[in-house]
């Protein structure tokens, strides 16, 4: 018997007015697994993330997390809290994803109050310190306003906030894209580390194949709202079957890289102007 996947998405579709942003997307993430959705801007990958996390409702299709359906908006406060303990998200922009008036301790404490209502003040404080340790923030940084922190430090707070509810799945929506390469590497190491320690699953939304290679087992490639290729990350990146995936792979800048005429023709052909 196979184990119930921690996240299952079937036939997901989303229309904005007359535009179909996401069309018939299916995927599963096994417990502790990690899946990447890659694709160019506008391919619908962020819309998928927003639907899974519950920020926008799908036009059609089902989303099941930890065996519970979450295709429709939550009706009750209890349902909202339960969903918060299933899937969390780390956004792209660390400068806008934290309340500028709250320090890390306040941000985390608010989450713990919501999800661990039985804990006393001291238990919460201990847990906040533990989360701070886990993401590598010192006591001064935990008490500083986001304004006083760097992008990498802010993103660590956002990761700690996502972890505070002890979710089964964390969606990383371009979570390292706004960071410089060195900080990106640190945060990626941190994410790999956290997955090893807590057994949380990742759904990584990215256009950066280097990032995808580092922290995911499986990859699906999206283009114009549809999944056009899927498989183990290493396979997809090493032997892409679709020309589009090849273009994506070859678009990653490397030593001696030039946006060749052929490559340009392919990308422009992909988006008729």
């Amino acid at each position: 018997m196979t184990e119930e996947p921690v996240l299952r998405v079937t036939g997901l579709r989303r229309e904005f007015g007359g535009v179909v942003a996401v069309d018939g997307v299916d995927f599963e993430i096994p417990r502790g697994g990690s899946l990447a959705i890659v694709g160019e801007s506008g391919s619908g990958k962020s819309t998928v993330a927003n639907m899974v996390v519950g920020l926008c409702a799908p036009t059609a299709g089902t989303i099941t997390a930890c065996g519970r359906d979450r295709s429709r908006p939550a009706r009750s406060a209890k349902e909202r809290r339960l969903r918060g303990r299933e899937v969390q998200i780390v956004f792209q922009d660390p400068y806008a994803s934290l309340d500028p008036r709250h320090c890390a301790e306040q941000t985390l404490d608010e989450v713990l109050r919501l999800h661990r209502a039985d804990d006393g003040k001291q238990q919460r404080q201990a847990r906040v310190a533990e989360l701070g340790d886990l993401v590598g923030l010192d006591a001064r940084q935990m008490r500083a306003r986001p304004r006083a922190l760097s992008g990498g430090q802010r993103q660590r707070i956002a990761i700690a906030r996502a972890l505070a509810a002890e979710p089964e799945v964390i969606i990383l929506d371009e979570s390292v894209a706004a960071l410089d390469v060195l900080v990106q590497a640190q945060v990626l190491n941190l994410l790999a580390d956290i997955r090893e320690r807590t057994g949380v699953s990742y759904l990584l939304i990215s256009h950066d194949l280097g990032v995808v290679r580092q922290i995911t087992d499986e990859t699906v490639v999206m283009r114009r709202g549809r999944i056009i290729e899927r498989g183990p990350t290493a396979d997809v990146l090493a032997h892409p079957r679709q020309p589009y995936t090849q273009v994506l792979r070859d678009s990653v800048p490397h030593a001696g890289w030039k946006p060749t005429r052929a490559l340009r023709a392919l990308t422009e052909g992909a988006q008729p102007s």
């Binding site: 339960l82 899937v87 956004f91 806008a96 934290l98 509810a165």
Partner: protein
């Protein structure tokens, strides 16, 4: 002039302008602070009974113990100005509190709910925009009789859409920020998110709006009192004093109208300058 010198010069003028700005802000803040103190303690500070009339002193200029002289009924002018500070500022303050409360609730509900609720509220506000505040206040005074209550409520109602419109824009901007989305994902209720995250983050904008509104409301109240529809004599009020001092202006005794008018102008200008600076700062945040 060399390039370096012209750059230096630019830096210097900019520094001077910044310094000028801060001085203006501090002077305005000091005036507003003083006005608030007078509103609270003014009646107690009045050296004489503001309502004690002695016709033998009618329109007499400054004498010992009466630095501003007397009005047309022989009442001490300084005492009346001090006593009038409270009535002149209590009305506008109440309007600000009510309109800010109403406007903030409408703005946040509009921005959060969106869709048809937002459309309906915006349409209702557009209709309210059609009526000038003073006109409504005069109408209310005509219907409910003179006094402070009716104009206060009506002015608050008339200013609510102005507050709501500005704050709705700010609330929409905050609503779209990922930190609000993160709170939703955590499972916090909409009410909690608005109370703990959204409203505190539009608070600088609210402070600026409230300050500007105080200035407008004060001018409106002065106008209403001037027309004899607000505070009734003999209660001292700056707007009423401008009105009752009118005959004196024609007879060559302008002290009552001028001093009361000056009080209104100074407070309103200070409050408006302060409000503008506050809103500039909250925009540039």
């Amino acid at each position: 002039m060399t390039i370096a010198a012209s750059v230096l010069d630019g830096v210097r003028t900019r520094r001077r302008r910044v310094a000028g700005n801060t001085v203006v802000v501090w002077v305005c803040a000091a005036i507003v602070g003083l006005a608030l103190l007078l509103a609270v303690f003014g009646p107690a500070l009045a050296p004489h009974d503001p309502d004690a009339a002695d016709l033998t002193y009618a329109n007499v200029g400054p004498v010992a113990g009466h630095p501003l002289g007397f009005d047309s009924q022989g009442r001490d002018l300084l005492s009346r100005l001090l006593a009038g500070a409270r009535t002149s500022m209590a009305g506008p303050a109440l309007v600000v509190v009510l309109a800010m409360a109403g406007g903030t609730v409408l703005a946040v509900v509009s921005a959060w709910a969106g869709r048809w609720i937002d459309a309906t509220l915006s349409a209702v506000m557009d209709v309210l925009f059609a009526f000038p505040a003073v006109l409504l206040a005069v109408l209310a005074a005509a219907v409910f009789g003179p006094g402070l209550t009716a104009p206060t409520l009506v002015l608050a109602l008339a200013y609510t859409p102005y507050v709501a419109r500005v704050l709705r824009g700010a609330a929409l901007r905050e609503r779209a920020q990922p930190y609000i989305a993160a709170c939703e994902v955590q499972g916090l209720s909409a009410f909690t998110i608005c109370l703990r995250h959204l409203v505190p983050n539009i608070a600088p904008m609210m402070a600026a709006q409230g300050t500007l509104l105080f200035g407008y409301a004060m001018v409106d109240f002065a106008a209403i009192s001037f027309m004899g529809l607000g505070v009734q004599p003999p209660t001292s009020d700056w707007g009423v004093m401008v009105s009752t001092g009118q005959p004196g202006v024609l007879q060559g005794y302008p002290a009552e109208s001028l001093t009361a008018g000056l009080c209104i102008v100074v407070v309103v200008v200070a409050v408006n300058l302060l409000g503008e600076r506050l809103s500039q700062r909250s925009e540039g945040r």
